[in-house]
Amino acid sequence: MAEKTHPPEPIVRWNSGRADRRRRLWRRFRRRPMPMIGLTLVVAFLVLAVFGPLVSGDPSAQDYLATLMPPSIDHPLGTDDLGRDAFARVASGARTSLQAGVLSTLLAMAVGIPIGLAAGFYRRWLDSIVMRLVDVTLAFPFLVFAVGLAAILGPSLRGVVLALSFAQLPAVIRITRGEVLAIREMDYVSAAIADGATDGHILFRYILPNSAGPLIVQATVAIPTAIIGEATLSFLGLGVQPPTPSWGVMLSDAQQYLDQAPWLAIWPGLLIALATLGFNLLGDGLRDVLDPRSGP
């Protein structure tokens, strides 16, 4: 691209550098205990998902001499009906959970943000069509859509990720569009337009970075929803298929052995709850810092 004069910097920088702003946000975030508890839980979940499977051994290794064993030194969380180590399965399940949560959120953002940007920026018929489509999407309860997708694609992690990201699309599109509508009226955008900046430059250099706060908050809401969604679909047999470890599949298996091995029903559910709680607390904290206008 040819050299051209640059429009004025966005106001969001205030009068200090970006690093300063980040430090200030971090200080505000750190002051309260709840978001820090959330952050700790989320980091613990990430560590379990990334490093757990490396140290825990093979989650599919069966030992028919040690089925439904209670927690012991060899098997800290016990073994399941096929003699598989519950800790190894829980750790690999965390990875499946993380994949479903993060991939579906990234996919929804990758598809939803450009649509929301375009709808909010160009408005007119494009906006009307997009918003009507969003309404139709909202008319499908998540599980109904997931059921339809499982019927068409067959139960799989891929189907789960698609269904979960589809379920998040309306929120991503609405949030992005709303931000664009507000930000495009700002003086620095008018200045950029007057300066002859291209649409793409305005959208990605000025509007998108200033919409980041609400979108990050949305991601912290979407990931735990997706984690529960994956577990639910897998529990119902519509998601991840055995022998791939998933917390939902583990709970579904555990239901048959509630009276003999109740501990099998405790761990996966507790981890789902803790991971979800962590993201929810983190999201509440981030919302206070990044997006103070909205809020519960």
Binding site: A139, L270, A273
Partner: protein, 319 residues
Amino acid sequence: MLWFVLRRGGAALIVLFLASVLIFLGIRALPGDPALVMAGEDATPQAVAAIRHAYGLDKPLPTQYVDYVGQVLSGNLGRSTQDQLPVGQILVERLPVTLELSALALLVAIMIGVLSGIVAAVRRGRLADYVATGFGLIGLSVPHFWLGLLGILLFSVTLHWLPASGFIPFTQDPAGNLQRMVLPALVLGTGFAAVLMRQTRSAMLGALSADYVRTARSKGLSETKVVGAHALRNSLTTVITVLGLQLGALISGAVVVEQIFVLPGFGKLTIDAVLTRNYPVIQAVVLVTVTGYVLVNLLVDIAYALLNPRVRLSGGSRG
């Protein structure tokens, strides 16, 4: 108001039309020949051809769609590929179970959620508030199916108070029916109670600091009256909106809870249909769910407008 209802109703019809097109196309997007899928893997070519003709699959798509809508409107939803029963009849048998479960769960959610939300707001910053808020956060984070398993573990396996699963129709044995529905309804209701609690609390906090509440207090009204007649009434719109927005989650939750407690409802029918690739049933279940969802949302919008005149004057949209 009439204009508002007509406009909302029209929008709902458009959504239903698009949804029906999607469902219609969805079943045709299946890999392979739908007639072959419906006939089963080891059907003879004659049987496949018969099905293709019976379902009008040899006609052009728009004609097929018109036929399909005509049949649905006349109450013909096809036959289940499992037992050849009319799908409409199966739905009529299964729906009451799910409706009872949902109604009981909503009752639980409203009783626990709204009451604790009010208490948390009135006693803000004190012990009751922290307890309610804490339970709210936990209720949001615990998935239904785990709560269900824990419930069975505690009340059925350990304490032997309640049966772990099964269903008896209310008309046959009301006590036995309720005994089997208590735990599922509690499990399904808890998550919504948490959502309702959080929303009621924040709506009540907003209302309690509003000018009209200060006026009511300075007039010397009793605190019960201030909270009940003024603040709560103005918080109800929020509660109703949340109920409408949570409907999808209620449907999903019912599916899960029915699966855990082996209740022969709509949700169990859905999952069984997907696992056995019973396409006529899947198609009907999705259609009925979406229709119910759109209708209830329409009712919520109308109730919302009735409670809050600003909505119908501005014709504003929710969310």
